[in-house]
């Protein structure tokens, strides 16, 4: 009996924890879980018979065993959601660092172009690579996106 509860619970924990954390539904779900955990903890402490009765219900020998199973599922969910959250933060950090680096480089290139006006013709012609980027300001406004987008 407990097998049929535990296996889906583990799968559900993994899937739910790895899903997007930005949805309102997900946030609400986590708050409900937190509230239920508190209530369940209080109940289990106040009347230890209840876990035992639940254990009998699902075919587990002892209430403590049931608690252990539930704890395992909770840990799996927690690890999954932490890693998802960590990855999201890392993605944001990478984007932020990249934009900082590109913006700083662009500033330097523009400053360089102003301080040292384009070199005279012969060199520019011999140089097969054309630099047109530094003098044109970014048209896409991508640096603002980072600040406001996420």
């Amino acid at each position: 009996m407990i097998k049929f509860l535990l296996v889906p619970a583990v799968i559900l924990a993994v899937v739910l924890s790895l899903r997007s954390r930005h949805s309102l539904r997900g946030q609400a779900r986590r708050k409900i879980f937190a509230g239920l955990t508190v209530i369940a903890g209080v109940v289990a402490v106040v009347s230890p018979g209840i876990p035992q009765r639940l254990a009998d219900l699902v075919g587990v020998d002892r209430g403590t065993d049931l608690l252990l199973y539930v704890l395992a599922v909770v840990i799996i969910y927690s690890v999954g959601s932490n890693s998802a959250r960590f990855r999201e933060q890392e993605t944001g950090l990478v984007r932020l660092a990249r934009e900082v680096a590109l913006a700083e480089c662009e500033t330097r290139l523009i400053a360089g172009a102003q301080h040292f006006p384009p070199r005279p013709g012969p060199h520019a012609q011999s140089d097969p690579v054309v630099h047109s980027g530094p003098v044109t300001p970014p048209a896409d406004g991508s640096s603002q996106e980072v600040v406001s987008g996420r």
Binding site: A97, R98, V100, C105, H131
Partner: protein, 239 residues
Amino acid sequence: MVESASAAGRLPATAVVMPVYNEATVVRGVIEELVGLGFTVIAVDDGSSDRSADEIDASGAIRVSHPINLGQGGALQTGFEAALRFTDAKYVATFDADGQHQAADLLGMIAKAEEGGYDVVLGSRFLDGKTEMSALRRLVLKTATKVFNRGSAHKLTDAHNGLRLVSRDVAARINLAFAGMAHASELEQILTQSIYRLTEYPVHVLYTEYSRSKGQPLLNSVNILGDILAHRVSTWRRA
């Protein structure tokens, strides 16, 4: 060989993206050679703690400095974006900063792309016997290549070579999600889509005293292999 190539042909505008992480002792020479050949070098200083940034500035490359270390994949993605933003290069290449790649190979890859109209040219160490490596390293790399090749449109002979050339359009479509180790397989997964015209070019990788001491000990091949497998599993889950 380098002279003949630059003298013979007009080099199509090519930006060379070079991730740099604590390579102060060698990076300047590597960049100066490429700049001398007419390449625009975009050196992405990935939060180096040594004098790499100064060396890059002295070498004539465009320097993009990450405020923190993001890993090689993160540096490559930054480099691609910088190449698109700051240059109008027709091709974007990736090149290692430690001197293990040959500028002559890059020139050959450009020539091949021009002649054959290829979108993607990947360097391969296994197309001919020029690169010397230990039997164990060869085995690990071959295995990695086999694992990678499963289910992709193009079959490659070398899955992890840092010398690559892509057209501007392809570079614009690259968006590496993995900043860390798995970027190489991710990048190749992007580049080997069947819509691109892809070819390989035999390159000669010099495992110098320096590159041996620095990077890629054999254990790192294990990391790469693990990353490919993890990547395969995770993309399979998402698909």
